[in-house]
Every structure is written in C-alpha cells, then in structure tokens.
Amino acid sequence: MRKEFILTAEGVSKSFDGFKAINDLNFYLDAGELRTIIGPNGAGKSTFLDLITGRTRPDDGQIEFKGTPVTKKTEYQIYRMGIGRKFQTPSVYSDHTVYENILLGLKGSRSVWSAIFGRVTPAQNEQIYHVLEIIHLKDKAQVRAGALAHGQKQWLEIGMLIAQDPELMLVDEPAAGMTDEETARTGELLLSLAGKHTIIVIEHDMVFVRQLASKVTVLHQGHVLCEGSLDHVQNDERVIEVYLGRKKKHDAIHPEH
C-alpha cells in the first residue's frame, strides 16, 4: 500500500525555539502527481520543503522518498536521490551568466575532478539551449543573471530544475512577483512538466492554483487542514475560517488596513 506513494511524511514535527512550525504533519504523494500546497503566511509550507530536502531535520516523524528515509541524509545525497527544489526567493547565481546558471544546474557528475577537467560536450550544450528555449531566455544566454527581471529569475531557477531533471520537483511560489501574463505562462510550463515529473507547487495566487487544476493541500499551523480539489477546499468551513477569520482579527487589530 505504502509502496504506491513516491513521498510520504508521517507524524512530522519541527519546532523553532518552542514555536511549532510543523506539527504532526501527514502527507502522501502519488508518483506522477501534481500537487498544490496553499496556506497562510507562516503555515510551514517552505519549512516542509526544507525538511524534505535536508535543509532542516525534523524533531519527530519520518519522511520517505520512494521508501527510503531522507531525514538523515545531506542535501546533496537527497538531490542525488532525485529531488530538486526551487526556493521561494529566487536563488540564482547573480554574477554568472544565464547560460552558466543552467550549466551548473545540469544533471551530470558533481565531482571536483570533472569540474576541473570536464568539458561541456556538444550534447550538454544542446541540452542547455533546449532548457533556455523552454524558459524563454535563449536570447539572454550571455546576460548576467543578476540583471534579469524578477520573473525571469524565477524562470531561470525553474530552468535549473528542468536541467537537473529530478523525479520530484519542489517549486516554492514560482509566480511570486510575476505579471498576470507571466504567471499564466509559468502555469503552462508546470503543466507541461507534470507528465514527466512528480511536482509539488506552493502558491498563494488562486488564479494560478486554479490553472494548475490539481489536488490541493491546505496547510495551517504546520498541519494539514484539508485536501481535495480547489473548489472543495475553498468551500470548506475550516479553510474559510482560517483565511477569513484571521482576516477579521487582523482587521480588528489594524483597522487602517
């Protein structure tokens, strides 16, 4: 039964200085699935990705990828198991060119030796340009990544993820700071990747979430509040309470909002 899931998290908890960022979280993901996680600020969405990718270790509970626990592994070991990640704030190498960013993300040997003596093969070069074409940055190949617009940086980081070609992609707020048109294109891009990869997307933008038309998990105070289609969760009493209830309280404290 458990074997069917590509990713399972059971009873996972994580506190920071006594504050429970993740609280008895249970999460199951089918292989090949596209899943969207939503939830208010501070719900623990990014922390959950940190736990999967080895950036932080859980206090309690187990996370398994294809049946292998990841909680004791280092970042690069987890990467090599086939998990890739895009950060919430776009993390690209701003002093490197767009081309070099993709090159450094490209699947392949990660040894010191190959870094010194390896050459970029024509096949790799082609692959890099293929990725650049997908993310619409082909004509910017030799531009410094730091000079890109915010949305393009987001795409570049998604490009590094595509170049890595992991089984499981973790994509944290890919559309943040994008125009509506860019957001729609990002949605199309993720949908086109969905067939080949298992993907978790974290997003606040409901138009975008609707476009993905995937199963949605609502996270609240480090716990899964509710799961199902977007329409289902939007009509769930608890979800409305979490979003709207907090809004009322928030407005009561800050009437000027």
């Binding site: 208010p40 990467y79 928030h250």
Partner: protein, 395 residues
C-alpha cells in the same frame, strides 16, 4: 571582447616575464654601480621578497576573492613551507656554524645529543622540496576537512584560521618543539652547493621567484576559467543554491583550501633563502591580516589585484617604516578602511569604477531632462482580477 582581453593579458604576462626574468637581473648583473639604471643587490633582494608576497597574496585571493573563504591564517602555510626548506638549509651549514658541530647551532646551544629523527631526512633536497608542498597541503587537508565538514562558514571560519596560526605560532616559539624556538632557523650558508649570500645566487633566487609567480598566475587563471572556477564563484555567491544543486560544497572548498596552502608554502620556501631567516613571527596572526590587506588594496576577485596590492603595499611599507617608523600600522589600517569604504574593487578596479561613475552621472543628467515620460510606464491592472487573485489577507 573576451578574446581581446585575453590578448592584453598575455601581453601583460609576457612583459612582466621580460622585466622580472630579463631586464631587472641584467641591470643588476651587468651595469656598473655608477650607472643610474643599476639595481643594487639589496634592491634585487627586496624585489624578490615582494614577489614572494605576491604569490602569497594570490593564494589568499584564490580563497577569499574567488571562493568567499576569508582565511586569516594563510601565513601559517607560508611559514611552514619556509620552515621545511629552512631545515634543509640549516643542515647544509655543516661544521661552519659557530660551534663547529654537525648539529645546527641552536641544537648545540640547547644541548641536543643528536639530530632529532624527523630532521634527518631533510638532508636531502628532494625530501625538503616534497615537504614544502606536502606539509602545508596535509595540514590544510586535515584542518579543512574538519572545518568544512562541520559547515564552519563565514566569520567563524576566519576566526578559526586565525586561531590555528596563532596556536602554531605559540608552538614554534617553544624551544622543545625542535625548530629553534624564538630565533627560528638562520645563518644559512649554502643552497644547492652555492653560497646562498652571493649576489649571483640571490639573483637566481629572484628569478626563481619570478618563475613561481608567473606559473602561479597562469595556473590560477586556468583553474578559475574552468567549470571549477564557476563553481568557486557559485559557492561564494550562493552556497545555498549550490548545495541544493547536488554539489558537496565541502569537497570543493577543501580542494581550493589545499591548493592555496600549497601555493603559499612554495612562496614561503623561496622567501626563506632570500631573507636569510625563518622564525615564528612569520606565522603571527598579524602577518596573515596584512596579507588580506594587500589583496583588498590591490583588488580581490582578480589575479592581478593581489600582485599589485602585495607589491604596492610592501613598497610603501619599506619606505614608510624608514620615514615614519611609528606610524606604519596606522597607515596600514587607514589604507584598509579607505579601500573597504571607497574602493571595493581595489586599485585595479579603480578605472572601471571611475568609468561607471562617469556613465552614471551622464545617465542621471539625461533622465532628469526627460522626466515626464516615467508616469506612462506605471503598470495598470484590473482591480477585480487583483481581488480574485489573493484570498490571502496579509498581502
């Protein structure tokens, strides 16, 4: 643009090589002292020291400027290379020492019955030469392994390297550590069968240092242009992204750390026969700090910067310590502050900085004259789409 840059660089290396390996030694050897172009033995010796410092500075920059690892203990490796070669020179003195013993003078003085076993193989030049590379390399390997595996970064790494060199300094100060204690190793007589103090030998040592500098430069230029070089900068700029792109960052840092320790050790080995002494003060913490200042002043993250910085600051030091002996540390500190505040790219970055400033002011003036155009570029969004977009209250 890339190719033309490399061409000028090749020219620069070529001209540098001609000056260091041809013109300066020739002026020293073949012009009479009365000639205004004559370079004295003292000066050649001083320049040789500067070149050693330049190599050391490149090793600091390979770590700091290229990889973001600010080592405040690089002189430890420099001094270890110096000690390894100094031990060999010490044993070449033979019976010509003050006590006319086979043992080095300090050992007679401290009452050693015989040469300590770990000194014996240093009779061989090749063993000593190997030790020059292996001792700094091995220490860097062990220390780096422990530090990088425990994810010691940033200022913690800097403090730890400083502590390491300080600890080693204290050890070498002890007489029972068998390396001459306070006085270190000195009074060298021969090197490879030649009189180490003769003008001809010193000239050859100067040229050898020139060769080391050029080789170091070319090696580092090559290394920093490979994918490894891109990785160095990736570690420096975004170690997080790098880790989560599947690289074991510790291995890459360890490699650079060891390479730069070896480079520093080689520089130290050539330094010792030219200054005629190596003692624990060479690994005192302030020496390593000074080396960092050279790199900052010259321009970090470039290869020419450290060379320019090491030579310029030391030339200034030679002059200032004679002109204002009490003020040197203040001058050095002031220089560092000025560079950090106003010249982030050092001396070699100055032309580009001035050019950028010039361009910026030109753009600013132009913008000012066409102000009204800006409002038209403000983004317009339909309010209802904004509303549907976020059910999130805080944004």
């Amino acid at each position: 643009m890339q190719t033309s840059f490399r061409k000028t660089e090749l020219w620069g290396i070529g001209i540098g090589a001609i000056i260091i390996l041809g013109i300066l030694p020739a002026l020293n050897a073949f012009t009479p002292e009365s000639n205004i172009f004559h370079i004295s033995d003292f000066t050649i010796n001083l320049y040789g020291k500067y070149l050693c410092y330049a190599v050391l500075a490149i090793s600091v920059d390979l770590l700091w400027g290229y990889t973001g690892l600010l080592s405040l203990g690089q002189c430890l490796f420099f001094a270890l290379g110096g000690y390894a070669f100094g031990m060999h020179l010490m044993l070449l003195i033979g019976k010509l020492g003050q006590y006319h013993s086979d043992l080095p003078d300090f050992m007679v003085f401290l009452g050693y019955p015989a040469l300590p076993p770990h000194w014996v193989p240093f009779r061989s030049f090749w063993f000593a030469a190997a030790a020059v590379v292996l001792v700094p390399g091995f220490l860097a390997l062990v220390f780096g392994f422990l530090a990088f595996r425990s994810r010691i970064r940033g200022v913690y790494f800097s403090i730890l390297t400083q502590a390491l060199t300080y600890g080693a300094c204290l050890m070498f100060f002890r007489n029972d550590f068998t390396f001459g204690g306070n006085n270190g190793l000195t009074d060298f007589k021969f090197i490879l069968g030649y009189d180490v103090r003769s003008a001809a030998t010193q000239r050859c040592l100067f040229m050898a240092t020139g060769v080391l500098l050029i080789l170091t430069y070319v090696f580092c230029r090559w290394l920093t242009r490979t994918k490894f070089g891109k990785i160095q900068r990736a570690v420096r700029d975004s170690e997080n992204r790098f880790l989560f792109s599947g690289y074991a960052a510790a291995n890459f840092k360890l490699f650079v750390f060891v390479v730069s320790a070896i480079i520093a050790g080689l520089a130290g080995a050539l330094y010792v026969p030219q200054v005629g002494i190596i003692n624990p003060s060479e690994m005192a913490p302030d020496k390593s700090l000074e080396a960092v200042v050279w790199v900052a002043v010259g321009g970090r993250g470039t290869l020419i910067g450290p060379v320019v910085g090491a030579i310029a600051v030391n030339a200034l030091k030679s002059w200032a310590t004679r002109a204002f002996p009490d003020l040197w540390l203040i001058i050095l500190g002031a220089m560092f502050v000025i560079v950090v505040l106003f010249l982030p790219k050092g001396i070699v970055g100055l032309p580009a900085q001035l050019f950028a400033l010039f361009k910026q002011s030109a753009v600013y003036l132009k913008k000012k004259s066409e102000q009204p155009g800006i409002a038209a570029e403000l983004p317009l969004k339909a309010p209802d789409s904004q509303y549907e977009k976020r059910i999130h209250p805080h944004r």
